[in-house]
Symmetry: C2
Subunit: 470 residues, 2 copies
């Protein structure tokens, strides 16, 4: 067991207090000379254990495996929330959703009849990169508001093509999801497919959706190869209902879920091939990750968190730790990185790489991972906050994670429990969160409590954007 | 869901009936011209999820990861039993332990006061390879009998260096294992270290044991580089009690267990470097696997089965499915292999490669995997039998596994349950064995029952060799 010394604790606390302003001083005072292109490939409900290189026995992901071997495979990488809307808000704003109001105790996510979306006052990564004249595209699932003012084209993206929310919404059947995962039809859902602000297809033809998203990403890259670009490719799958194209359906031993992941993997390979063909691989950073853990209640239609505990909707590791692969053959040093990172760090890291200062008028939770990516330095991130709705359930500080509240996914797999003495796990030694060591380490719990106190002292909760529905 | 047709079933049944004699007709009529060297590296109690390339977040195994990328990573590879002695007997004889008497309903494994060991009538892989004039060495844990007549040098090995049983035996403290995993001392155990038939150190110095085993293997390879050789390197670790040398202790974020696995991995890298340095890599086949799943009751001193259910001592996947990597850069086609294989197949595959016929006077369970290894053909293996002691608890046939009896490890984690309607899992689609589909697929259960009937019709149980103790 390793312990934090008081000196170490002070270092952390100072870090929390000064980091945002420090970073904006260090970097980003002027635009970068040859700023890299960014491609973020974001899967939906893919679990920690669902790629070959992360240990799945029967899901084949040769392109992602290769990307991980040539780049960096992060094994302690987190999302900002264990469900869709807040997780996406965190990635695109670099901020915990509790600050932007993009999480709620009333609705888990946005629905087609939700009235609001990402507040205009929030600054997205796309808006950041526009300041450095990037061409920007959002392709795929949006889920930060489908009313016109909330769409990607009003949030820094030059171009949008995709389904504006989850592929299981606009349900036009009265069957319950839980009943029909094995016999699901595309026609049960009336989800729209949009280009920019127009609906171009309804219901969206979902068997071809992964393939079409990949093609759109490649087409955008080809069109903008002479200037810096940012492609945010957020696949709607493998969220249920699952659909694969003819080339993939029925091929995986893992069943339809494996087919779907294989098709996403194939698309990753095509994007990398396109970058290489146009000589863009040397100055493009590709990241692959997912929005939250697997939706376990759908059985074999949901994914696997591997050795991690629980899945989507929970603040156990399986809900919020995700595969994350960074690839850029000339820039990123191949490694397996055990340090901490989060999707929010993409905001800060990529802003800095583009030479655009991060906003100074608000708390930015993102930290700059470029030292780790380029020079294998230690990641600056030492802490992860696990919110459920607007409530902090758990915190990780260094190797240790304290759970103050635990709860199963959406009322399944375990009721809500408050822990007067928090559950404490060394998640590096005990990634499955099996062996509570809280009683033995009051000093670590004190440190975590101190860090939370500091966190709360600076926290202004944003107005709930998810609560109001038609 | 895929189903077996009746025709398919007949094919399987025929295969079971004729395979042993068929194989010995096809292959092995004469000695091979340039037979390859074999190095089997066998870990102890390492789980399915304990290597980087099999998904562990904080155990670093760069050498095994590289070996897997350059060779074949098998993801449905099984051992012959979920505990030590019978699993080792299976590997070395190519036979289910129930045939050789090397499993028992009285004692799980052999102990220092056991009277017997591997019967002389059994033919080991080393004895096979001696027929083709291989130099043969067993280095590390034996556990098939420590009385003189049962030692490696009486079982086809020219040379032996190691601890003849588990490293937690000869206990000279009255503390219970479960109490002291965190404060374990080498001096609690009086295990002998042997060279050939002599004890050369007692208690064995265990901090250096992994390093010394690796050195012994390299030294043997160097001495015998001009003739075919077979090294069976069976590490005593990461079985509890855990020990690492100074270079590794305290280095892994996974704690001591991670240190130990990292040291084994380092040794793998050294062996591969030696093979390359002497130009032996082109004609040597290296295999890495483990004897059974992780010993979960030891908490962080035990390993992880990753996404598989349960661990050591059980017939759940976590007890008997293991990492398995085959490496031979000029011979083995790099691939991730989802087909079935077992440690017993090493007996048959390597015998055939050496041009030595497998014994015809008994049932050999091993099947020849060389078509898969060299040409990526389908593995001939379609079935796995899961015995606990001398009782068949479960069987896998193709994608499906039926559990007739389930039970937790050594009375822990769940009592013994008989299933009139067996639990049925599609383990390719549901590797965590969560979703019983027995009620929906009586036809598959019928097929499995038919295959078991055939298996039993040819089964002669060997006399229990583990029962008698001083």
């Amino acid at each position: 067991m390793r312990f934090f010394t008081n000196k170490f604790l002070l270092y952390f606390l100072t870090l929390f207090a000064v980091l945002p302003s420090f970073l904006s001083t260090c970097y980003g005072q002027s635009q970068a000379k040859n700023p890299p292109n960014f491609v973020i490939i974001f899967a939906d409900d893919l679990g920690y254990g669902d790629l070959g290189i992360y240990g799945h026995p029967t899901i084949k992901t040769p392109n992602l495996d290769k990307m991980a071997m040539e780049g960096q495979k992060w094994t302690n990488f987190y999302v900002g929330a264990s469900v869709c809307t807040p997780s996406r808000a965190a990635l695109l704003t670099g901020r915990l959703p509790v600050r932007s109001g993009m999480c709620s105790d009333k609705n888990r996510v946005l629905f087609p009849n939700s009235l609001h979306g990402l507040p205009e006052s929030e600054v997205t990564l796309a808006e950041q990169l526009k300041k450095a004249d990037y061409a920007t595209a959002a392709i795929g699932k949006w889920h930060l508001g489908d009313k016109p003012q909330y769409l990607p084209t009003n949030n820094g993206f030059d171009y949008y093509f995709g389904i504006p929310y989850s592929n299981d919404m606009d349900k036009i059947t009265d069957k319950k999801y839980w009943d029909f995962a094995d016999d699901i039809q595309a026609s049960y859902f009336n989800v729209p497919l949009m280009r920019n602000t127009e609906i171009v297809e309804r219901p969206a033809e979902q068997h071809s959706i992964t393939k079409r998203y990949t093609e759109e990403a490649i087409s955008f890259i080809k069109k903008h190869k002479d200037r810096p670009f940012f492609v945010y490719l957020a696949h709607n799958l493998p969220h249920i209902p699952l659909f694969a194209s003819k080339d993939f359906e029925g091929k995986s031993k893992r069943g339809l879920y494996g087919d779907v992941v294989a098709e996403i993997d194939h698309g990753v390979g095509q994007i990398i091939a396109e970058l290489k063909a146009d000589g863009l691989d040397k100055n493009t950073i590709v990241v692959f990750t997912s929005d939250n853990g697997p939706w376990l209640s759908y059985k074999t239609h949901g994914g696997s968190a591997g050795l991690l505990r629980a899945g989507k909707g929970t603040t156990w590791e399986g809900g919020m730790r995700e595969p994350c692969i960074f690839w850029s053959p000339d820039k990123i040093k191949p490694a397996i990185v055990e340090d901490l990172g989060t999707t929010m760090d993409l905001f800060t890291t990529f802003s800095n790489m583009a030479g655009v200062p991060v906003p100074k008028d608000r708390v930015i939770d993102g930290q700059d991972l470029s030292g780790t990516l380029f020079y294998q330095e230690q990641s600056p991130r030492k802490a992860v906050f696990y919110y459920r709705g607007t409530t902090l359930y758990a915190m990780r500080l260094g190797d240790y994670k304290a759970h103050f509240i635990t709860e199963g996914a959406y009322g399944m797999f375990g009721r809500k429990e408050m822990h007067d003495l928090p559950l404490l796990f060394n998640v590096d030694q005990d990634p499955s969160e099996q062996y509570d060591i809280g009683e033995d380490h009051p000093e670590i719990i004190r440190q975590i409590n101190a860090a939370i106190k500091l966190h709360r002292s600076k926290l202004v909760k944003g107005k709930d954007q998810l609560a109001d529905r038609e």
